[in-house]
């Protein structure tokens, strides 16, 4: 790790000020909460802040469920949320996405806010031995496009970056129309999670719409019948403790044998959690007939662009969508 000063501010307002003064790019000040991703980035010299500002003890960690839905304090850990009976019962896709993430130890440490803001697992981003990475060093190029790109995105890419988004949780939350509450030195705002993430375009190093000094303080998820019947399917190289190659978050509302307007997101395939509106539309009013499901899922491939090693994802994600819906259909 490069040397840094550790700031332990007395309250959130003080923490926001430290970061707000630091500016946006290659920030000389960074936040640390659970630390499970930040420590890796510091150890690998991917991030070299002059100042590390801890949010430990400054953020809400409550998990609340009411008639309107779910509210997760940003400091709630992955393990706490995954084990919460109300989450398991009314928002199973969230619990499943969390239990399929990381390891039991990391789930005890990592927080909701940090999970949403974790950096990509693109090996060229994580290894400073590679000179070219626009996300790490703007303007240096992208080593992944012509390199080993088995893990990379097939949607939302640009000629500057094809790194896949790493959070399983974010995919589940986008499928449920979640939003994040954001606090800034000058106030607060609410951002739909789907709008939090930016596409890489020409500035892959700027990953979210958060301004310097803004912090996610909570996640809100509206209650819905579909949320109760939701599922996260993760396809990966080993059965546990592995990032996704492809995953599907599906929330299904059934009226008799027919699917009501439904929601799906896919992961491992996009530079941000990737909604599939064409598939959602095609499924509305359909039955769980396998051939119909396959036809609808095929629409997910529209606009997908493989880079060689990751071409298989375009087929695999269609099968993941079908499997996830069939699993839910069988879950009466």
């Amino acid at each position: 790790m490069h040397p840094f000063t550790l700031e332990r501010p007395p309250d959130l307002a003080a923490a926001l000020t430290w970061r707000a003064q630091a500016g946006r790019n290659d920030a000389p000040a960074e936040y640390i909460a659970g630390g499970t991703d930040m420590i890796q980035l510091l150890q690998e010299h991917v991030r070299r802040p002059e100042r590390l500002v801890t949010l430990a003890g400054l953020l809400d960690r409550r998990i609340e469920i009411g008639r309107q839905g779910l509210r997760l304090g940003a400091a709630a850990t992955m393990a706490e949320v995954a084990a919460h009976p109300g989450v398991v019962q009314q928002f199973p896709v969230i619990a499943e996405a969390l239990l399929n993430s990381a390891s039991p130890q990391v789930r005890n440490q990592a927080t909701m806010g940090g999970n949403l803001l974790q950096r990509t697992r693109c090996p060229y981003f994580r290894d400073v031995g590679y000179g070219a990475c626009n996300k790490r060093a703007p303007g240096s190029g992208c080593a992944a496009i012509a390199g080993e790109n088995r893990w990379h995105a097939v949607f939302g890419t640009s000629s500057n970056c094809i790194a896949a988004h790493a959070s399983d949780l974010a995919v589940a939350l986008v499928a449920l129309d979640a939003a994040v509450e954001v606090r800034a030195p000058q106030g607060r705002r609410t951002v739909p999670l789907n709008d939090l993430y930016r596409l890489p375009a020409d500035t892959p190093h700027i990953e979210t719409v958060l301004e310097p000094g803004e912090v996610i303080t909570a996640i809100t998820v509206p209650a819905s019948p579909a949320a109760r019947r939701s599922h996260y399917l993760k396809v990966r190289d080993r059965a546990s403790f592995e990032f996704a190659l492809v995953s599907a978050a599906v929330a299904l509302d059934m009226k008799g044998p027919r699917i009501r307007p439904t929601r799906g997101t896919r992961h491992g395939v996009g530079t941000k959690p990737w909604r599939v509106p064409r598939v959602e539309q095609a499924l509305a009013g359909a039955t769980l007939d396998p051939a119909a499901l396959r036809r609808a899922a095929a629409l997910a491939a529209e606009g997908a662009q493989g880079f060689g090693h990751n071409d298989f994802k375009i087929v695999l994600m269609q099968r993941a969508i079908v499997r996830a819906i069939e699993t839910l259909g069988a879950r009466a």
Binding site: P3, F4, T5, L6, R8, T36, Q43, E44, S103, V106
Partner: protein, 210 residues
């Protein structure tokens, strides 16, 4: 607490002593430990130091006041400053689990926490598991089931296994494998590790009933 600067030989001796409490005699891989410690020390000294900060750590029921470089991870504080070398440094990136300790009763990877940010938390390391000479049931089970070869991952496996049992995630071999996936064993002693955890889980359940 007074700081002392142990020589390499003293460090190895310490490792062997703490090790013997756990796995008996010369099975402890002191040589495997040495290059790791040397590498960690070298990588630290290659960079300029940050100004030290005061940190109060609670480990195995005792309080320790330390002046630490803010970059010091909990793992490095345990090993290099408190000389509790039972917790092992494998990857330093949260991938191998050799550094697993309990924090307020929950298992965590000590390489992914900064020591200064876990003030006031109750840390339990492998050295704090036995009660005097009486080994923890899972320590005994690892010996009986031969749950290791080189032994380097063993302290992390045992700390993680203790939590796996107390969480109620040791119901079947399959469940244990899933909930122990944060601990890698390069010798491939997994079958015996799972058997040891099953034994200890059964012993814990029967003790609770009794």
């Amino acid at each position: 607490m007074t700081r002392f600067a142990p020589t390499r030989r003293e460090l190895l001796k310490l490792g062997a002593v703490t090790g013997s409490a756990l796995v008996m005699g010369d099975a402890w891989p002191a040589p495997a430990d040495a290059p790791q410690a040397a590498t960690a020390a070298a990588s630290q000294s290659a960079e300029p130091a940050s100004a030290p900060i005061n940190v109060l750590l609670r480990v195995n029921g005792r309080e320790h006041r330390l002046a630490l470089d803010p970059r010091t991870t909990l793992l490095d504080a345990l090993r290099e400053h408190l000389h509790l070398t039972g917790s092992k440094k494998g990857c330093g990136l949260g991938q191998c689990g050799a550094c697993t300790v309990l924090m307020d009763g929950k298992r965590v990877k000590s390489c992914l926490s900064l020591a200064a940010l876990v003030e006031g938390r109750e840390i339990t390391t492998i050295e704090g598991l036995a009660r005097g000479d009486e080994l923890h049931p899972l320590q005994k089970a690892f010996i009986e089931r031969d749950g290791f070869q080189c032994g380097y991952c063993t302290p992390g496996q045992i700390m993680s296994g203790v939590a796996c049992i107390s969480e109620g995630h040791a119901g079947s071999a399959l469940q244990i494998r899933d909930w122990m996936s944060g601990n890698i064993c390069r010798c491939g002693a997994y079958d015996n590790i799972v058997a040891a955890i099953q034994d200890a889980a059964r012993a814990t359940r029967s003790t609770r009933k009794g």
